[in-house]
Amino acid sequence: EDQVTQSPEALRLQEGESSSLNCSYTVSGLRGLFWYRQDPGKGPEFLFTLYSAGEEKEKERLKATLTKKESFLHITAPKPEDSATYLCAVVIGNTPLVFGKGTRLSVIA
């Protein structure tokens, strides 16, 4: 059973059409939840860390939120350059990060 599940697997938006990506986790003892952006053929780029339920982080058109069992990455008025795969990961205790499989976002002009 996957510990971190991201949905949807793929999302296609029109430019300016806001939406949210979901990351749910089944583990307990969460130390942190992380969002990354990955462009094709490149390494993941770190975006946000969330440590506790109720926490929010923002960067340009992106806002990440965290509840006790899931996180949302809200994308407001996306542009074509926001097209990428967005990865979610969690850390429990001193273990390495556990990644979800990602959501492929396409923003069409």
């Binding site: 490149k42 390494g43 770190f46 860390t49 850390v91 390495p96 990602g102």
Partner: protein, 110 residues
């Protein structure tokens, strides 16, 4: 500031040939280092991590090995490549809890 390098960027190798991928980190000392493989539809798979020189933890049994000969150098190796070793290999170093990734190496085994 910290930077992480990987080379080569791309590699095409025949089945049965050896492999050596290198990762180096600048701007930090004694970092935790990680090797991942990314295959389509399977997400990021942790292969090895290291908390210090000569200290390697393996996450999955496989055809690969890792070494850390210097504080900021992490090497991924194989004696004989398999077709299933093809993929995108990523090295990362650990900050507080988050990890920072290198540019990756695309390995194709033919």
């Amino acid at each position: 500031s910290q930077t992480i390098h990987q080379w080569p960027a791309t590699l095409v190798q025949p089945v049965g040939s050896p492999l050596s991928l290198e990762c180096t980190v600048e701007g930090t000392s004694n970092p935790n280092l990680y090797w991942y493989r990314q295959a389509a539809g399977r997400g990021l798979q942790l292969l090895f991590y290291s908390v210090g020189i000569g200290q390697i933890s393996s996450e999955v049994p496989q055809n690969l090995s890792a070494s850390r000969p210097q504080d900021r150098q992490f090497i991924l190796s194989s004696k004989k490549l398999l077709l299933s070793d093809s993929g995108f290999y990523l090295c990362a170093w650990k900050g507080t809890y988050e990890q920072y990734f290198g540019p990756g190496t695309r390995l194709t085994v033919t």
